[in-house]
């Protein structure tokens, strides 16, 4: 008589736990997360943490190298570099986030309509997207801000105009893939109209990759924003913005603390976002896993 052998049953670890275990194998990603959380906290708590107001001038103590009173030195007007770097996060981080969020919305809309409508619509909208991609990002952004006037809001707008294209292409691909899925056909057969299909059915099913892409793009957005502001096309000159501080620091080249610390602030933040991006790519795409 044959007795059935009970097969060992493996209980699949929950998705979250598996992800967490993967995360443990990605030390770079953890470092990235820690740095980003730290920068968010520093920016939020800047009014509490900064030893001096970021705009307070103290001409007697101008151009001091880092010392016990001014940990990161002072600038050409005697303002505390440490305080200004801390406050700088309050401009650059929200600006980078705003660029990415608006790009996700605009890009999703364009890409989804192109992919959903198909045919001529798709053709025209995608050719237009390609045209925008041919323009050099920062120079086109410079043109837009030059025309609108240097201001934080205009710099963000300029970066939206030049960078929504990747989001649109990504979304288009996702929507084309999703619109033939059975759940979409089912919804349509229930009598759903196009706007309903687009926003109630396709939006929730295609937004996740766009959000992931956006989170990877924050680093780039921050670099570009800092670049524009370095060129004098962002916030007004006295504002404690990192790119702006560096461009003023150039004129005081030997006072390296004036440009190095804001520079390292940008670099560390962007690097942290790139760490996360690399980690996510490794996790999601096993081919690149080493």
């Amino acid at each position: 008589m044959i007795t059935p052998v009970a097969k060992p049953v493996t209980v699949p670890a929950s998705n979250l736990r598996r992800r967490l275990r993967q995360l443990r194998r990605q030390p770079a990603m953890i470092i990235g997360l820690v740095v980003i959380v730290a920068w968010f906290a520093l920016a939020l708590l800047a009014p509490v943490l900064a030893p001096y107001p970021p705009l307070e001038q103290n001409i007697q103590n101008r151009l001091q190298p880092p010392n016990d009173t001014y940990r990161l030195g002072t600038d050409e007007l005697g303002r505390d570099v440490l305080s200004r770097v801390l406050y700088g996060g309050r401009i650059t981080i929200p600006a980078g986030l705003a660029v990415v969020v608006i790009n996700s919305i605009v890009g999703w809309l364009v890409g989804a309509v192109a992919g959903f409508a198909g045919r001529a619509w798709d053709e025209v909208m995608m050719r237009v997207t390609e045209l925008f991609m041919a323009f050099p990002t920062i120079i086109l952004a410079m043109a837009v801000t030059a025309a609108l006037g240097p201001e934080i809001r205009n710099a963000v707008l300029a970066l939206v105009i030049v960078r929504w294209t990747n989001y649109a292409r990504l979304t288009r691909g996702l929507v084309i893939e999703a619109k033939t899925a059975e759940y979409v056909t089912a919804t349509r057969s229930l009598g759903a109209r196009n706007p309903y299909l687009l926003f109630k059915t396709l939006l929730p099913n295609t937004i996740a990759p766009v959000v992931v892409y956006g989170s990877l793009d924050i680093g780039n957005a921050i670099l570009l924003f800092a670049g524009l502001s370095f060129l004098g096309l962002g916030p007004e000159p006295s504002s404690p913005e990192w790119g702006r501080m560096i461009s003023i620091g150039i004129h005081f080249f030997d006072q390296w603390w004036m440009w190095l610390f804001p520079g390292l602030a940008i670099a560390s933040l962007v690097m942290a976002f790139n760490f996360i991006g690399d980690g996510l790519r490794d996790m999601l795409d096993p081919r690149t896993r080493t």
Binding site: L131, I139, L140, M142, L148, L231, W256, T290
Partner: protein
Amino acid sequence: MPLYQYLLRRVIFAIPLVLGITVVAFLIANAIPADPINANLPQSALNNEQLVAAFREKWGLDQPLHVQYLTYLGNLLQGDMGVSIRTNQPVLDDIRQFLPATIELATTAIVVGLLLGVSFGVVSAVWRNSPLDYLVRVFALIGVSFPVFLLALIGLSVLHAQLGWVAGPGRLDFLVQRPPHVTGLYTLDSLLAGQWGTFRNAAYHLVLPSLVLGLYVSGIIARITRSSLLEVLNSDFVRTARAKGQREFFVIMRHGLSNALIPVVTLLGVLYGNLLAGAVLTEAILAWPGIGRYAYRASTSQDFPAIMGVSMLIALIYVIANFIVDLMYFFIDPRIRYA
């Protein structure tokens, strides 16, 4: 597919793209809320009614939008991109004056970027997960994360001011005479004129900016080379080559790298565009008198015609660069020839 047919196809593809670029440039110039007369004429000319009327007529500003575009395109085809507000010269003349410096810089930079990036990528892939690999990956990460203006400043402060290994800002030392103008590339022109001293000086000045820009692109190149070579080295034909007993060096170079470089070549067109954009920031810091610095000065003095001219020019260069990349494809990837 024979070469001429392939070429013809690429050219035909490029024409609507170029036309489209002019449409986008025109639309952006029109979509901005600023009055085109305010944006395109200097302050001093705004009170002069004759000048304003002449401008309005030349660009057809009282005509409907599509007629305006055709006027704009017509002017463009005659090489008229408007007059720069800041320099008071035709934008095309300005570009002609500043472009050679940027071409000299960008070309050297892409060579530096390729040399560094490809060799780092190969080292990193061959000795995967070794300390060397981690070093290269950190280096690549710095290349893509550090703002290019920070790299330029660090280079200027360490390599020039501290160590004195490279020349400082500018294309030539203050007292050195420019070589006679042939191509506008000082290194080439001085060689053509047989002026060795000038050549040495020009090359010496080229080191820092091209190193900064080269580093900036080498990070991306190293990453692509690494991942693409890793994939190729895992493929069957590499295993076959190894099984035949070929030396490892030959396997990596001939079988591995020549296949792994295809994605790098694809990227070159895009990278050249990146490089020109990065050149704006580098040129601004290192006082390199190219179109990047021209665009920078234009943008800070609200010189709209100049900056629109530069962005259109770079978009065109981008199309041409990608066209050249397509051509290179034809020679390195036999699959295209037999497709």
